[in-house]
C-alpha cells in the first residue's frame, strides 16, 4: 500500500482528556482504530468522500441485520481499496460489536466528527481564530497541559502502531467553544524516514506551528 501524506488518512481526533484516554485504549487494544488525519483544505474532498461512505453504511445498517456481511459486500470494495486501514478498523468493530444501535451511534459520531473537521478546514477564521495572548493563556492552562500530556503518552505507548508519527496541532474556536479539543496531525513514519521527506514534512510542521501554535515544541515529541 502506498503511504504518503496525501493518501494516508489515518488519525483524526478532536480530543479532550477523556477522549485522549479513549484513543489510547484504541491503540492498546487495537479494536477501534477509526482514525483520520486532519490537515488543511486539501483533505476536504477525502473527508467528504468518507462522509458519503459512512452515511450510506449507516443507512444500510438501519435496514440490515447482517452487518458484517454488509461491510464485506462488493459495494464497499472501493472503500476497502482506498482506505484499507479504515476499512479494517470498521470491520473489526462490526465484528466485535453485535448491537446495531451501537454501530449506528458509532457511525453518527464519526459523521459528526467529519462535519466538525470540514467546518474547521473550510474556514480560516475558525482555524486560526485567536490572538497570541489567547494562545498563551490556553497553553498555560491546566487543561491544556493535561491534554497534551495525555497525547504525548499515547504517542509514547503507541507500540502497536509504529507507522504513525503523531503530532498534535492545537486550536481553539473563536469563542473558545471547543477549548478542550485538540486536533491530531498524523504523518506516516515510513514516508517520513524512507522517502527523504523529512525536510518537507518538518517545514510543513514548522509552518503549521508558526501559524497556529507558536510555542509548541515539536522537538520534544517522541518519534
Amino acid at each position: 500500500m502506498k503511504k504518503t501524506l496525501d493518501t494516508n488518512i489515518f488519525l483524526y481526533a478532536t480530543v479532550s482528556k477523556g477522549c485522549a484516554e479513549e484513543v489510547l485504549d484504541t491503540y492498546q487494544y487495537n479494536s477501534f482504530n477509526i482514525v483520520l488525519r486532519s490537515v488543511d483544505a486539501e483533505t476536504r474532498p477525502k473527508l467528504i468522500g468518507l462522509f458519503t461512505v459512512f452515511s450510506v453504511l449507516r443507512d444500510e445498517l438501519s435496514k440490515s441485520k447482517k452487518h458484517v456481511n454488509l461491510i464485506d459486500s462488493d459495494r464497499y470494495s472501493k472503500f476497502r481499496e482506498d482506505y484499507p486501514q479504515l476499512y479494517k478498523a470498521v470491520r473489526n468493530y462490526f465484528f466485535k460489536e453485535k448491537q446495531i444501535n451501537k454501530l449506528i451511534n458509532l457511525l453518527e459520531s464519526i459523521l459528526n466528527d467529519i462535519r466538525f473537521l470540514i467546518q474547521i478546514i473550510s474556514n480560516q477564521k475558525f482555524l486560526y481564530p485567536i490572538t497570541r495572548k489567547d494562545y498563551k493563556r490556553i497553553l498555560d492552562s491546566k487543561r491544556f497541559r493535561e491534554c497534551f500530556a495525555a497525547l504525548k503518552e499515547i504517542i509514547k505507548r503507541n507500540d502497536k502502531d509504529r507507522e504513525h508519527l503523531c503530532l498534535c496541532k492545537h486550536f481553539l474556536s473563536a469563542n473558545l467553544k471547543y477549548k478542550d479539543k485538540l486536533v491530531f496531525l498524523t504523518i506516516d513514519k515510513e514516508d517520513f524516514i524512507k522517502h527523504n521527506n523529512k525536510q518537507k514534512i518538518e517545514s510543513k510542521i514548522k509552518n503549521l506551528i508558526i501559524e497556529t501554535l507558536p510555542q509548541l515544541d515539536i522537538e520534544n515529541i517522541l518519534l
Binding site: T14, V15, S16, G18, C19, E22, R44, P45, I48, G49, F51, T52, V53, S55, V56, D59, E60, D74, R75, Y76, S77, K78, F79, N105, L106, E108, S109, L111, N112, D113, R115, F116, I118, Q119, S122, N123, F126, K177, Y178, K181
Partner: protein, 213 residues
Amino acid sequence: MTTQTILVYQAIPESYKLFTQLVHDSVDRCYKNRRTKKVIYGEVIKDFKRLIEEILAKDKISNFLIKEEKEYLNFALSVFRKSKERVSFEDYELLVQYSFESVIVRLRKIKEELIDKIKYNKLEVSDIDNEYFFALENILQQVETLDDYFKNKNWTERKDKNEMIKKALLVFKNLNELVLSIAFKDTDSISYISNSILNFDNIQFNIKNKLVS
C-alpha cells in the same frame, strides 16, 4: 476530480427548476410594510401567477410534482389571485410554511434517490456528488434540529415567535439555495453552500457531546 456522471442531477426532474425559482422569488424577495402589516410584492405577482400556471400545465404532461409541491402551488395561486400587489402577513407566513414543507420533502426524496444511485455505483461517485450529499445530509439534520427547537418554544410568545421565524427563514434560505444549486446545475456554489450550512451560527450542531463518544 473524476469525470463521472453527476448523479444528483438525475435525482431531480428538469422542470423542477421553475418551481425552485418560484419558491425562491416568492419567499425571499418580499418587503413588509410595518404600518399595513402587508407584504409588498408589486407587479411581480402577475409573473408569479403566470409561472404557477405554467408549472401546473407542465405537471399535467410530465407529472413531476410531489404532493407537497402541488399544495404549495395551489395555495400560492389562491393567494396571488386575490391580491394585486400585496399579501397579508398571515398569508405570507403560510406561504413560507407550505414552501418549507415542499422543499424539505423534495430534498429528502433527492437524498433517497441519491443514496440508491451511490449504492448502485458501488460508492464510486464524483466529488461533486459527494459535496451535494454532504450538504443534503447536513441541511436535513439542521431541519431536524430546528424541529426539536420548535417543540420547546411557544408560538404564542412574541419573543419566541420572532426568534423561530428568524431561524426558520435562515434555514429555509440554505435549503432553497441548495435546491436551486441542484436545479440549475450550479456546481461552483456547492462548497460555499455546504460551508454556510455548517457555519450557521444560530443552530449549532451539538458537536461537543457527540465528539467524545
